[in-house]
Symmetry: C2
Subunit: 134 residues, 2 copies
Amino acid sequence: MNPIDILKTHQLKRTVCREGILSALLSANKALSEEEVKSKIDGNFDRTTFYRSFKTLIEHNVLHKIVVDEGLVKYAITIVGKTPEHHHAHFVCKKCHTVSCLDAFTFKVPNLPSGYQTEDSDLLIKGVCKMCTI
Amino acid sequence: MNPIDILKTHQLKRTVCREGILSALLSANKALSEEEVKSKIDGNFDRTTFYRSFKTLIEHNVLHKIVVDEGLVKYAITIVGKTPEHHHAHFVCKKCHTVSCLDAFTFKVPNLPSGYQTEDSDLLIKGVCKMCTI
DNA sequence: TATATATTTGCAACAATGATGCAAATAGAG
DNA sequence: CTCTATTTGCATCATTGTTGCAAATATATA
């Protein structure tokens, strides 16, 4: 899957900013912050353009946002058919702060007290990643 | 447990702001945003004081912060012995935006790919709460 | 290919949140 | 009651999310 096809599939216009964001995330293979994406892109875009590109891509389910509680915000590609639609799991490394999207990783949402209806869930697991363990 | 005892236990000075935050949260029985806490308190505190009081209380494990991805930040009392120390689960209602801390609610963190070491985890379940279901 | 139109960009501007330095006020120990 | 360390309030700043608007651009179609 390449940026152009992704945009076409979602009926989004091809713009340099959107293509840049997508190719940065596709090649990264992990979640990236706005800054990290920016540093991987040639063009110099306005912050608002960046922000709106992310927003549009998220609204069309091309990307999803991962908020780690200390103000760390990362974005990752939503791989259709691979990323579980409603029950996401992410891993944050406490050492290198890498956020990985645990694609295809499913977990059972435990039963809640009666009356509660579960729709989506986000599981954020914090620990030490493979690279930092060595 | 009352605000004064909580502060004493954690060797924190009794200040009007801290006591106010704690009594607001103790009586609420759910997570509250900064604004919600503020509206429940008599005194008119500077935003910085508020912010620093929350920070101090979080650092001493009296409170914990729940970040819902749409920029919604809530705070809840950490009930020692009741709130699971490292594996928190919270429920966010998509209708009324109430965030409840699922105290004493434990879940099994699924096995990760080898090499990953899990330390903490936050499970954020989104759905419809009891009140909004009726 | 040229053109029309709807979308996107860049800029200015603003709100909310997180953060720090510093002098004045205050809590708690003695 | 007094002293000292902590906390408060204020000013100030950075970052992130957001909107309005005119100019630029992508895409459909003539």
